[in-house]
Amino acid sequence: MAPISPRTHRPARVAAAISALALVVSTAACGGGDDTASGGSSAKNFSFLSINENTTIPATLTTLSQKECATQNAAQPLEIKKQAQASLDQQLQLLAGQGALPQTFIAANAPSLTSQLADSGSVLDTAAISQGVLPAASSTITSLYDGKQLVLPTELNIEGIWYNKKLLADNGITTPPATWDDLVAAFAKLHAAGVQPISQAGKGGDGWGVTRWVGNYILRQQGPDALKKVADGSAQLTDPQYVAAADAIAALGKAGYFGKSPTSIDYATALNTFLTGKAAFIYMGSWALSDFNDESKNKIGADNVGFLKFPTVTGGTGTADQMPANVGTALAISKKAYENDENTRAWVTCIVDNYGTVALRDSSQITGFATDGSVEVPALTKQIQTEIAGVRTSVLWFEAYFSAKATTVSQGNGGLLAGGQLTGEKFMQTVTANLG
């Protein structure tokens, strides 16, 4: 073949230039698209990053966009994107790293991550716009985020043990158990009668339901500051009294009270097991009221569902009125979007003013927002509203002060504890090793 001629160089140069251009364009396309406003211009949409597992918040925001917040929606239409809850924290980190957080999003699973986002200037401290937030919700949020009001309380939950009144009565348990010993005796009685005492998920990250039992036992035994002491470093989860709490739950697992293979049971299956009358107790938050009040899901009837405060432990310093409370799945607001975009500010104000009433009316969801008092609610919801109003001291959940890693490890091992495959000591050692 003859040497390459100058004429053949030109197409090659053109091809190389096109390749380089294509590369630059494709590289530029890889950058995150930032829908949020900067420098005073308004974003095209009001973007909300939701999670697949929650249907109430997208539904309520959609209703708001059509009615109460229709004006704001006309200026900046609502746009909902969804994400699996398990990978929410990962997605938020990536978006924050690219400066591409949407105007509003579900707050991170690990509160420590939301705090980090706030420290880096990505999340708004909503204290100044929280005039419509109930004091109980404010105090729960500030205790979670070190004095700051980093989320809007689209839920205000209390947690406890819900029970099937008829199943208990049928098995001779006429009074709801008030102490831990009474509760364990009831479990034994039901188990002996062939009834699954507790329905609780333990599959992967759904193991939080089991670790709630551990956390609450600790709080009842050692008082409401017990988990804060671990966070402060003045106590260790491997201290004997903490291990004893995990052992108490492992003993329930060993006895088979959590049913067949908790590690195979996810959240929806556990809830369904309770709502179809196949288990007597379930530890759950009041966010499940919408399911309890839904006749298509609740086959045992809402009248048949009772609520029990987590019972006291013999010799313990914690009391039953120290209520596990949280703001569950809450909304965080992008600081940059709120401060730079007038339309986003109008949307957020409308949410604060109207969300509580619409969520209660349409989804029986109790939120941390004030309502206008016009909504008639089912009896069970009314009962929980009364309980919430009566809360004087609230306590947080087992992993509330943990890092993302320790939270994942703790919840991932919850199912093994409920299956009796892990001792309390081993569980606490595993979690402690990942506290960081």
């Binding site: 073949m1 390459i4 990978s87 980190q93 790293g97 986002l117 049971i265 093994l416 595993t430």
Partner: protein, 294 residues
């Protein structure tokens, strides 16, 4: 052609764009990741110099030996399983299924093209213990046994992972090795048979030695794939129960992206790279000797 390839400008022009793309999407991230090993922090909080802290953390991390052990165990068991079952299938195709072979080969190869997540869901249902009883447990119970909670104990979970990955890829290795076996001259086999060699003798003295190069290639393919396994384990067990089936890849992913610790995640990635490098060196040294002599 020689003159074109002998011209440095032409070579640079032809290779340049591809090399640039490769450098940007492969080499730069790899070097970037190497750099992260000396830093701590995340994209949110920013990065600070950590010196050798991430490396000393490797030595103190109780989860690392567990993940490393699982990775090695998984790689050895799956590699042996994939290549052995693939080889047996290839022998079956060559010696017993010459006529109906194409149908069987197609059926055995079919799982290779199925999406990993679909196969994982299939196996989850197949070995399910609760809330429904899967076919495997139903069969165990039908024969009077007690159902096994496969995904709640590390040993059983590993067994299901191994079965799934061997089933998924045995068709690929069977085809690869079958192609190698077809290269063995028929004359040599016939001559050995006429000399009175039985099937076992044929396999031991002719088939195995002559197919050794393709067997070694299969081993290299398999070990490289299994050391980096991620998707099948993530989809089937999620690394559980607890973290009992978490390989280094999954631990690295969680550390970097779920826990936001890019520095330590990159250090785990470097550990995996070193492991892959060691295994590759060992395999190539061994094969240079064996195959070269063969």
């Amino acid at each position: 052609m020689h003159s074109v390839l002998g011209d440095r400008k032409s070579v640079a022009l032809l290779l340049g764009p591809a090399l640039l793309v490769y450098s940007l999407v492969m080499l730069v991230p790899m070097l970037w990741s190497l750099g992260y090993t000396f830093f701590t922090g995340s994209v949110i909080s920013g990065f600070t110099w950590a010196g050798g802290a991430n490396f000393s953390k490797l030595l103190d991390d109780p989860a690392l030996p567990q993940a490393l052990w699982f990775t090695v165990k998984y790689a050895v068991v799956i590699t042996v399983g994939q290549v052995l079952v693939g080889y047996l299938l290839a022998l079956l195709y060559v010696f017993f299924l010459r006529r109906a072979g194409s149908i069987i080969r197609t059926l055995v190869f079919f799982p290779v093209i199925l999406p990993t997540v679909a196969v994982a869901l299939l196996f989850q249902k197949f070995f399910e213990y609760a809330p429904q009883t899967g076919p495997v447990n139903a069969a165990i119970e039908a024969f009077g046994g007690t159902g096994v909670d496969f995904f709640s104990t590390p040993g059983h979970a590993f067994l299901v992972v191994a079965l799934m990955d061997i089933w998924r890829s045995m068709g690929f290795y069977a085809v690869l090795l079958y192609a190698g076996l077809l290269d063995i001259p028929d004359e040599m086999m016939e001559a050995a048979a006429m000399d009175g060699a039985g099937t076992w003798r044929l396999i031991r003295s002719i088939v195995v030695p002559l197919s050794l190069p393709v067997l070694v290639s299969s081993l290299v393919f398999s070990i490289n794939g299994t050391l980096k396994a991620f998707d099948s384990i993530y989809a089937l067990t999620g690394g559980g129960p607890g973290s009992a089936t978490s390989p280094l890849t999954l631990y690295m992913y969680q550390t970097s992206f779920a826990y936001g610790d890019y520095g330590y995640g990159s250090t785990i990635a470097l550990t995996l790279t070193v492991l892959c490098l060691l295994v590759t060196v060992v395999i190539f040294r061994a094969t240079r000797r064996d195959v070269g002599q063969g």
